[in-house]
Symmetry: C2
Subunit: 154 residues, 2 copies
DNA sequence: TCTGAAAAGTCTCCTTC
DNA sequence: GAAGGAGACTTTTCAGA
């Protein structure tokens, strides 16, 4: 992972469908060099995949909420994580420090669908005594694009 | 936005670099039809862009945190939102219901960089009396892929 | 590991349905 | 709107350094 790789990663996060020539022009490499480095980054797992960034309203899920969940004991976690894995409305699930066990990012078609997910699917799980939801009114920024910091010795 | 469009959106969120032939085979359309629908979806803004999904550790920003921020009065919001816009470490900024004003998703190279962002850049803003941070220990799921619910009359 | 050029494959545009 | 075909472009592969 040298400076070329970081430049490539930065560029393709913002230009996911750019051709190799365009990437090469942006970072200062030939078409073949870009091809080889992309293949290497995908093989290494540094590039997890490629995606179209879709407008949530257009996709039919304009309601966004963050849900903090308390899991009482470790033996109740597998069932919870299975739900997280299988439920596409749960975009993110993070194990967190602080008063709660997990923080979820959830998208739904409307408030009714959100209530259904919370009341019928999450709170009915064993070992989930409490949860706390925060509903998003609007998003000033909502991007999957990571910052690529300059490494220590640069 | 008919059923073909929804299928296309679903497919290209998981296969952002798929060719038009591949998309067409997945949803049941010809290459040209896929081409036209993609252009239309981009024109309409339903497709906001295309991106490579990058492993945060490989990109050099393994530390993830969620920060709740209180903004005292509306006149202090523009400066805060300008910081949000210009700071690449702030991936998301949502205006939320509940006790706090905004919820941020933040990535940093290490805890020191996170502290720097919180203590030197956010808490020094006027009208920001309090904030509360939750650090992520691990992520069971972290995806930008939206669910595409079936519409009411289907 | 990079460059450069040829081969294979893909997108784009145009015509027709 | 959707399908099919000719031309331009891109990706892939393979020498050579």
């Amino acid at each position: 992972m040298d400076d070329f790789d970081r430049k490539i990663i930065q560029f393709i996060q913002a230009n996911g469908r750019a051709g190799y020539a365009e990437i090469g022009a942006a970072v200062g490499l030939s078409v073949s060099a870009v091809n080889e480095r992309l293949k290497k980054l995908e093989r290494q797992g540094a590039i997890r995949g490629w995606s179209a960034l879709v407008d949530p309203a257009a996709a039919g899920c304009p309601v966004l909420a963050f849900v903090e969940v308390l899991i009482e004991r470790p033996e109740h976690e597998p069932a919870f994580l299975a739900l997280v894995r299988d439920e596409p409305a749960i975009l993110e699930c993070h194990h967190v420090t602080g008063d709660w066990s997990y923080l979820l990012k959830v998208r739904a078609a409307d408030i009714v669908a959100l209530e259904d997910l919370l009341a019928r699917r999450i709170k009915t799980l064993p070992g989930v005594p409490r949860s706390r939801s925060v509903v998003v009114l609007s998003s000033a920024k909502d991007s999957p694009v990571l910052p690529v910091p300059v490494p220590p010795g640069a």
